[in-house]
Every structure is written in C-alpha cells, then in structure tokens.
Amino acid sequence: MKMTAERWQSLTLGIVGIALFLAAWEAIGVNRLAGLTWPPLSAVFQFMFDPTKAQLFIRAMEASFSMVILGYVTGSVVGIALAGLVHVLPVVRPGMDRLASVIHAIPAIALAPLFIVLISREFTGMAIAALNVFFILYVSTTSGLNNSTAGHRDLFQVLGSSRTTRLLRLDLPAALPAVVSGMKYSVPAAFIGAILGEWFGSSRGLGLLMVSAMQNFQIPLLWSAVFIASTASLIVFGLMGLLEQFVYGRYK
C-alpha cells in the first residue's frame, strides 16, 4: 500500500486524536473530575502491568478470547454457508431470511438464560457471539452474492457455465468485499457477545473480572478489564479494515 500525503495526514490526525483522548482521560482521573470511579490512566496501566496480576489477566484473556474466536468462527462459517445455500436453493431463501431476522430481533440477553440451561455457563458467551456474527455475515453474504454485474453474468452464460462454476468463479469473488466488510463489523459484535455472556455466571474470563470488580469496587481492575477487551477488539477491527481495503482494491 502506498503512503500518500492524504493517508499520512489521516494517520497523524488519528494518532493526535488518540493522544488527546488518553490525555483527557488522565487529566480527569488525576483531578477526580468524575469522582472516585474514574481513575487516571496511569493508575490503570500500573495495575494492568503489575507482574503479580499478569497471571490473572492472562488467564482471563485466554478464556475470553478463545470464546470470542470460537463464536466468531462458528458464526461466520454458519452465516456464510447458509447464505451460500439460499443462493443455490432460492426456495428456502424467504424462510431463512425470516429466521435470521427473528433471531436477530430477540435481544441476546433474553436468550442467555436459555443457553445457560441448554449448553453451559462457560459457552454462553460463545453462543451469543456466534449468533451476533451469524446474523451480520448471513446478511452481508446474501447481499454480496448478488453483487455480480449483469455483464459478467452474461459472460458466464455465453461461456456455457454451470451454476456451480458460476458460484465459485463469479458470485463468490464478487461477494468477497461484502463478506469481508461483514467480517470486519462482526468483530466488535463477537467481543460484546462473548464478554456479555460471561456476566451470566461464567467461572472465567474478562467478563467475570468486570462483574466481580464492580461488585467489590475494585475500580482499577474494572477499568483494566474493560481496557483490555476494548483494545483487543479495536486491534482486530483495524486489521480487518486493512484486509477490507486490500479486497476492495482487488475485487471491486
């Protein structure tokens, strides 16, 4: 990727923005402008990088992130696969669309108790993450699979293409930008789902840390957990953004 003047500018502005945000956070915390529950950034970092706490955070991260990944992958695979299925079998499309929107319309929180009894407390977060991701990818893939242009469809017809060949060589590549965008926007959804799920009595994870820190008024711990979860989500989101740029450059 070339670094144009414009890109440098937006990068610089981004860094300045983040720096200002962090500085404001620190200032509010140091001067106790927002009360005791808003610690200075330095205090949070001190707590977070305290070697005696490392074990605690690492275990929580392992637990949460594995649920995020599992939920993300499950949701993506099922979402993309079902979108492919309704594309090949258009008769089932209205039914699948309805089912997906019904699932989406029910708040995940309302489903959580069901998951707890149906699966287990440990996997509730994963299930919510998977549902969130599933919906985003189902919708983006079904719309993406119709993104091929009329001219390209004509081309495949005069070449005597079978449906499968067209799906593999035209519909899927043409859908890729929409799919990758869907994968980008479902990153935060997977994090929210997994961590929210841990609030419902999971025995491990960042979500559990947050709940117990809240109940025991361990403010730096609470902020650290939130900070870790948000940063991880942002980093993955950013990486997916890079992938998205590449795919848009090539496939559109």
Partner: protein, 269 residues
C-alpha cells in the same frame, strides 16, 4: 468448411450457421410501455462467413447479437444457430463473444481472464495459445497485470483474445475496436483478418466504422434507426487475403460512400 457463399439459394434453414429468421424484439420498459427495438430482421449467415452490421446508435445491433448469443428471447420470429436453439452452442462452449463493455473480471490477471473459458469449460489451460493471442492483440508482457491497470482499448483487446481462445465455431463481436485509436484499430483489423482467414470462424461483427466493415466482412448489412430494420445489404467483392492497400482502391471508396449514404437518416441527403 465451405467458402462463404451467401448468394447460394436458400435451402433448409439448417444450412445456415446463423439464421435470424424474421425476428422482432420488443422490450417492456419499467412503466409498462413497450419499446420495439427491432422489427422483421432477417439475417442468414453461411458457415465461415463474416458479416458486418452497421447502423445508427440504438438501432438494435447489440440486441441482435444478444439474441444470437441466447442472452435474450425473440418476441417474434426465430433464431437458430447451426440448426438448433442458440443456447446449444454456448452450452457446448463453442461460442465466442466480445461484449461492447469488455466484461473482464477485475480480480483476475489478464492471463487468468483469457484462461477463464478453459476453466469454465473444464478443459486444461493452454498457455501457449494464450501467449499467442496476447501477442496477436499486442499485449505480450501484460499477463500479470489486472484489468484496472489497462486502458479501455487494451481491455477490449483482452476481451477479443478471450473470445477467440477456445477456437469457437461462432464469433460475435460488438464494436470490439470502438475504444481504439485509428492506428491501433487498423492494426487490429489486419490481425483479426489474419486469424479469421486461418480459422474461418462464422463471425457477426457490429461496428460503427464503414471502412472496418468493408475491410473485414464478406457481406455488410445496414440497419435503419428504431425500430431497427435492414435497409441495405452489400456483398464485399475484395478477394482474400486482403491487404490494407485494398482500402485505397477506387472500388473501396465507392462502396464506402454508398454505405455512408445509406447510414444517413432520411431527409438528410
């Protein structure tokens, strides 16, 4: 393959490679209004014959090509290609089409775009043939480029190479050289004439250039404005292979004038 002999007496329709038999096409527009694009068009093309189609913009030239390519259905009349329904030809991977808007796949390299017909037909890719065709259209060295890195004229040439790669039985070309400068266009005409002479593919070419039509075709058909009808048809007398010099003969100029006159809308000459 027989030499083109379109003046031969019309026998069974199956004798024609392409038979556009008194065809009309009416489109229904969004508002429910009907638009008669072509009316009673009758074009019979013999095996290995090269026919050029001239006509004002919007007279239905692309529509005729799309009917022959089985991309549209006729409203009246009948289209057969090699004696059967036109879909049979594309299903058998024996149809080559270069579209007006090139239709290259942006995510494939130039080489892979030209290899696409092999892949779709489930045949092994013949890289030697691809290299030959790339050289023919003057794009050697661009194998790894992507369509967006090429100019409009270069993309058109890639799409011609793609149309030719499987050595089709029938070739449909929709203004394939429209985006080219005069020099490249003349060069492409000579090249197209050369490969056509080698393979004698039944060809229907849509063009806006009278000179191109005369230089390449055995027969030139002129259409009127909407609804498109055939208003003139001339047999091109020049022997093959034709050298570019033929374009400087009196006879060529004479025929060109005749066609240009036919193209002028009524009341303007």
């Amino acid at each position: 393959m027989n030499a083109p002999l379109s003046s031969a007496p019309a026998t069974a329709p199956e004798a024609w490679a392409i038979n556009v038999d008194h065809v009309g096409k009416t489109f229904t527009l969004d508002g429910g209004k009907e638009l008669k694009a072509i009316d009673d068009v009758d074009i019979k093309i013999g095996q290995g014959e090269f026919v050029a189609l001239l006509g004002p913009s919007g007279c239905g030239k692309s529509t005729i090509l799309r009917l022959v390519a089985a991309l549209e259905d006729v409203s009246t009349g009948r289209v057969t290609v090699e004696g059967s329904n036109p879909t049979a030809l594309s299903r058998a991977h024996r149809l080559g089409v270069a579209f007006q808007d090139h239709a290259l796949l942006p995510w494939l390299t130039i080489r892979d775009n030209i290899a696409l017909p092999y892949k779709v037909a489930g045949r092994p890719v013949d890289d030697k043939r691809i290299a030959e065709l790339l050289a023919l259209v003057g794009l050697s060295g661009f194998e790894k480029a992507r369509p967006r890195q090429l100019s409009g004229g270069m993309r058109q040439r890639v799409s011609i190479a793609r149309a030719l790669v499987l050595k089709p039985d029938v070739l449909l070309l929709d203004e394939p050289f429209g985006a080219l400068d005069a020099v490249t266009r003349r060069h492409m005409n000579v090249e197209l004439q050369r490969i056509w002479s080698e393979q004698r593919i039944t060809t229907l070419l849509v063009t806006h250039s009278v000179e191109e039509a005369l230089f390449l075709a055995d027969r030139v058909i002129v259409m009127s404005g909407r609804p498109g009808r055939i208003i003139k048809e001339i047999q091109v007398p020049f022997a093959r292979p034709r050298s570019p010099d033929v374009q400087r003969t009196m006879e060529f100029h004479h025929l060109a004038d005749e066609l240009t006159l036919a193209l002028e809308p009524e009341g303007h000459h």
